[in-house]
Subunit: 341 residues, 2 copies
DNA sequence: CTGAAAGCGCTAACAG
DNA sequence: CTGTTAGCGCTTTCAG
């Protein structure tokens, strides 16, 4: 393995000078610089990040731990993260916890050992002891897509309660009265908040009800699975509107609703609203009404807060940025003649 | 920062023993072990990966560099990668090159400096000098989704030429004669191969033609953009079938085709075939015929080859695993009465 | 079974 | 401007 030592020997300088060439080129005279750089490329020298980090105590990569890379919502947030990180000269790696606390924990442990420059975390459950550990090791953490209960850790989020209320209210406005909320697992704050918001809106509408049909995860497959059941509910008059905790689920539910021996019609028999407004929502068989979150902005804001962390003391208050969601109405919930209107 | 030294002091042993507790617990007497472990948890000690790697020379994370995390195809491959890596006790991080050679290069450089345990690479362009550099530093590399031209680097791929031929032949069988291939950038081997396969099939069909409508990237947005143009071509009789280089593009094209002042009908006016068979393809307005690749298997096989690398000498031949694609026919290309049948 | 000591590759004083 | 040097935290012989 070629190291500074080899480069130094080749260029006829000391290792200190090689280090200077790499880290503070302006400290070095032009011709020495050139000679060393030549040696570096001739030898194919590549600095060892582990050694540098050990000595300098700092890394230049930040990690983004997501609930599900397969969910376009997160990849959109990731783009915002990447753009902002690039500007700050940071590399970002993505780790996928797949909605499993264990996987999340093991990723966090790994990043803790690596002492990365920062961790952006879309948490599975409210209680994750490792974020404290991370911070104790000087690794800044910012929570993404969740307002942190703990004021000592920064967060960027979208107001999911309002989002849920927005969706439910819209459905009620369309004349629906038997809402079904599809989503899970119940540990996920996003799911809980959206349901809470919807429940609140329904409570304010006399005669309306909302039933929770739980799922194991927020995926297309889960949506299809549970959609069968929802179709039955629609047929038996127990349901005239579905609010899905995210678009993946909504798309899956829609597929199940529209297929099989006796499909139901959307929005006529049942109205459908999703959440996230991923690009596929608009491209579905029946374009899906959805609650939009500012995804890229969420990501870049998270990086901004992360960078700001280094200027903060451990006991300083952290910022909790909260964005407002926006309802995007499409055919899946547009009823010809809203009875209530 | 708490280090082995602190743990050793706390437990009343030497640092060597602490190291043994962590790495070879069976070398240590039971009571010493317990004492040290107690000290570790009381102090909240977390080993420093940089130091360990510097000394031991090995990391335990592998990196998967993808063209586009936003593309469900890659996230599905990633799941296969994660599952296989988990079994081998490896952590995987994902890096997104977003179809940019620069970003790809900078990620590879980063991983080279970090001396990760391995790199799985879905390459943007054929020529990537950094894979040689990586390997020179003892970092095994396997190419994903591309047959490597260089027999010295392992690869797992799906036969894209056959896939392209499959798609085109199917379209011709449906009676289409004016094919349009939508895809780009032209540097991408996947795109080139799929086009080549399609072109070959068209050449064998007297009277049929194929036109290449290039795109900048393989995204939904690009599909929508270029779809406007394709719609015109359909209207003017220059096109009766579209073969998109991937499903994202196909979905975008479909949206453009079906919207606007005078939409065209699918498959009546124009048949549509995509590539990858991502789950959204089946959920589109008109379910999209697609060429399916064994995604998860691709990922797990790649990890398998990566693990095998360590047993190979630098000059040994590498394996090139190639899977066969499969056509999944859906409504978007199913014509009521295929004139040629 | 445990301790002492060397050194992985690099950076950051510091002295010249 | 350049060279020397002392570790960063850890693993790993090698003695005891």
């Amino acid at each position: 393995m070629v190291s500074v030592k080899d480069v130094a020997a080749r260029a006829g300088v000391s290792i200190g000078t090689v280090s200077n060439v790499i880290n503070r080129p302006d400290y070095v005279r032009a011709d020495t610089l050139a000679r060393v750089q030549a040696a570096i490329s001739e030898l194919g020298y590549v600095p060892n990040a582990a050694a540098r980090q050990l000595r300098a105590g700092q890394s230049t990569t930040i990690a983004f731990v997501v609930l599900d890379v397969g969910n376009p919502f997160f990849t959109d947030v990731a783009e915002g993260v990447e753009d902002a990180a690039l500007e700050a000269g940071l590399t970002v790696v993505i780790a996928n916890s797949r909605e499993s606390v264990n996987r999340e924990t093991s990723h966090l442990q790994q990043f803790e050992r690596q002492r990365v420059a920062g961790v952006l975390l879309a948490q599975t459950s409210r209680h994750q002891p490792h974020v404290a550990a991370l911070r104790a090791h000087g690794v800044p953490v910012v929570l993404v897509d969740r307002r942190s209960s703990d004021s000592s850790v920064a967060s960027v989020a979208v107001d999911d309660t309002t989002g849920g209320a927005l969706a439910a209210r819209h459905l009620l406005d369309q004349g629906c009265e038997r809402l079904v909320f599809v989503g899970g697992p119940s540990g996920l704050t996003q799911v809980e908040d959206r349901l809470a918001g919807a429940t609140g809106a329904v409570a304010a509408a006399p005669g309306a009800t909302i039933t929770h049909v739980p799922t194991q995860a927020l995926t297309l497959d889960d949506g299809m699975r549970v959609g069968e059941r929802v179709r039955e509910m629609v047929r038996t008059g127990q349901c005239d509107a579905v609010f899905a905790a995210n678009d993946l689920l909504a798309i899956g539910v829609q597929q199940a609703l529209l297929s099989g021996p006796d499909p139901v019609s959307i929005p006529h028999d049942v109205a459908l609203v999703g959440y996230d407004d991923i690009s596929f929502a608009a491209a579905a068989v029946v374009p899906i009404t959805s609650v939009r979150q500012p995804r890229a902005v969420l990501g870049s804001k998270a990086v901004e807060l992360l960078l700001r962390e280094s200027t903060l003391g451990p006991d300083d208050e952290r910022e909790h940025v909260e964005f407002q969601p926006e309802l995007v109405v499409r055919d899946s919930s547009r009823r010809a003649t809203p009875p209530r209107a």
